[in-house]
């Protein structure tokens, strides 16, 4: 079993870790030279700010007056990512950093309940590394990533989504789109949709042939 732990609005959470005035406020972190939006707190998302919005086009919108705009501070984000990683390696033998705020945890062979473990790890990262996170659990890294996405989408959820049981996957998958799957981009999704595959299924995730065909198809410009 694998888990993916992912920092919520990571850059904004790093800023919030040291500044209590940013609590419950819409906070946005901008790219280098304040070009565009690269991180948003839930409050900022609720105001309609999108990933990649150019700062100079939205900064003076009256409805965005309460937003706190932050220039990016990668020295801080790198250090907070290090803290998150150190908390994880103290608790799980195999940790694989996937990006600055996402890390795969190898739960294979670990005793006890994976959901309980994930909850404890989340609490430790929050308390020690000061970063709120969500955890997704699944039998593959792809499913762990999908579970993480589901955990994130549940606003008042526990922050942990467990897709380890086949029945749970079968119940959830018809409500999802293919774009939710790691590695499937717009072109692959369109191709699969045209082939009649509209949502993830155990059959699809197991069939390397179908996914593989679609991906190879892209490369060969079928």
């Amino acid at each position: 079993m694998f888990a993916l732990i992912d920092g919520n609005s990571f850059y904004c959470s790093c800023e919030r870790a040291f500044d209590p005035t940013l609590r419950n406020k819409p906070v946005v972190v901008l790219s280098n030279n304040d070009g565009c939006v690269i991180a948003r707190t839930q409050e900022a998302k609720d105001l309609g700010i999108k990933m990649g919005d150019p700062y100079h086009l939205i900064a003076r919108k009256p409805e965005l007056k309460p937003v706190i705009w932050k220039s990016s501070n990668y020295v801080l984000y790198g250090d907070m990512s290090r803290r998150m990683y150190e908390v994880l390696v103290d608790r799980v033998p195999q940790v694989e950093p996937y990006s600055i705020d996402e890390m795969f945890l190898d739960y294979r062979g670990l005793p006890g309940d994976h959901v309980a473990r994930s909850g404890e790890i989340r609490a430790a990262v929050r308390r020690i590394a000061k970063i709120p996170t969500c955890v997704g659990i699944g039998p593959t890294k792809t499913l762990a990533k999908l579970a993480n996405k589901i955990a994130k989408s549940e606003r008042q959820g526990s922050g942990v989504c467990d897709l380890s049981a086949a029945e749970r996957r079968a119940a959830l998958f018809p409500g999802l789109g293919l774009a939710d799957i790691w590695g499937l981009g717009a072109a692959s999704v369109e191709k699969l949709n045209r082939a009649g595959v509209l949502f993830p299924s155990a059959h699809l995730l197991k069939s390397r042939r179908l996914v593989g065909l679609s991906i190879r198809g892209n490369q060969k410009q079928f």
Binding site: D19, P20, T21, R23, E86, V87, R127, I128, A129, K130
Partner: protein
């Protein structure tokens, strides 16, 4: 690493050549690589009675459990403050300074980290 290696003498070979060590590493001594440790600079004189002076560097430990009598970093009404922790039955209280009222720790108040070391840069 020091520029001085003890191996580049023009007169006599240094008898200490094989014994040169790097300059003492305070980060290592303070174990600063642990993920819960945050060095913080004191601003103000409120905790002078506790021996904590303006300008001191405190090592705040977010992994440490709160305990009565310990000094902590707290988020209090949008401010970052140092306060002494006390406990009354099931409630933690913060005593920020002699001039301010003590405050119960509720959802609005966060005990951010416990102070467990002090570095004084000016004596």
């Amino acid at each position: 690493m020091s520029r001085y290696q003890g191996d580049d003498t023009t007169g006599f070979q240094s008898p200490a050549q094989d014994y040169i060590e790097p300059v003492i590493n305070l980060a290592r001594l303070l174990d600063l690589r642990r993920p819960g440790l945050y060095p913080v600079r004191v601003n103000g004189h409120e905790l002078r009675a506790r021996g904590i002076h303006h300008g001191d560097i405190l090592i705040a430990n977010a992994a440490a459990e709160p305990a009565a009598g310990k000094v902590c970093v707290a988020f209090l009404h949008g401010e970052v403050v140092l306060a002494t922790l006390t406990r009354d039955k099931d409630t933690w209280w913060l005593a920020p300074s002699a001039s301010r009222a003590i405050v119960p720790v509720t959802d609005e108040v966060e005990i951010w980290a416990i102070i467990d070391k002090l570095v004084r840069t000016k004596v």
